[in-house]
Symmetry: C2
Subunit: 152 residues, 2 copies
DNA sequence: TCCTGATTCATGAACTCTCAATCAATATAA
DNA sequence: TTATATTGATTGAGAGTTCATGAATCAGGA
């Protein structure tokens, strides 16, 4: 027996879909236009830049950047072609690879960041009151913790 | 002068990204696994099914399904290959095309719907209180109306 | 030591998306 | 009417994602 969405739930659901899509597309468009990279690549660079030595195991990097291993592997291959990331084998575990953010990669990130932050503000923060922001944060936490055990 | 995100804003932003990604990926995975279509295709079928005559101009359909024209054109081409949608020329405007949902398409949608709705409940609604749902709805509306004039 | 099974990562194919270019039909204006 | 712009839609190329698979390494126990 399917419990369908009632009218109010429908509205909320579609409102949610439209909103998230709007934000995601704005994000991707801005980064692609101004920095020549998709948002997923940006997140990878950010994760690397915040790691000690600007280096991280592929595994851990995938987790931090919220990427699948396969996606990360492909992405890092591209980033390596651009000279933004370098891959080196891992000492402690010879299966492992370590991705390292190059200086060029750091510079690319540094010059992409201001435009990205501006877009984030425009898209989300500027539209919401402090209470709404608090509420949103709690909502996100609730949704994420609900599905612990299914994925991230 | 870039106004960076402070610590609290950072947390909220990343929380938001993680949450929306979680939901989107769950959605796509479920539909792909159980119904053999991505969420974007599902939205197209839904939009068509709700239109009188289960038919709609490509233009209008793109708008309703929140898709770009190009994306829709490619998608409908695929859906046509599967026999779920049919394209016919438009009388009133000979530039136009009308997409029509076939019976097979309607059946595909009907059998995909229950699993999809269940996933939507599991991912989002079950995790939130009624107040949170109300708050979320308002937040989505606020974000969307902020960026009127930039896109949808 | 030798298996067995789990981890780590890379790869290729199939698919979707975006962007720019294209083309035909329709509006608009001179 | 003839030119010009705009609209509706498609197309192809390039890029990213997913899924299934494969290869190498590690870890634990018989």
């Amino acid at each position: 027996m399917t419990r369908w969405l009632d009218e109010s739930e429908q509205r909320t659901w579609r409102n949610f879909l439209a909103m998230t899509q709007l934000v995601n597309e704005a994000l991707d468009r801005q980064l692609q236009r101004d920095a020549g990279m998709p948002h997923t690549y940006y997140m990878i660079l950010v994760a690397l830049s915040e790691s000690p030595g600007r280096a991280m195991r592929m595994n851990e990097l995938a987790h931090r950047a919220r990427s699948s291993q396969s996606r990360l592997s492909h992405a890092v291959a591209r980033l390596e072609e651009r000279g933004w990331v370098r891959r080196t084998p891992c000492d402690s575990d010879r299966r492992g690879n370590v991705a390292v953010l190059t200086d060029a990669g750091f510079d690319a990130l540094a010059s992409a960041a201001p435009g990205h932050v501006a877009e984030v503000r425009e898209c989300l923060f500027d539209a919401l009151t402090p209470e709404q922001l608090r509420a949103l944060d709690e909502i996100c936490t609730a949704v994420r913790s609900k599905s612990v055990g299914r994925s991230s």
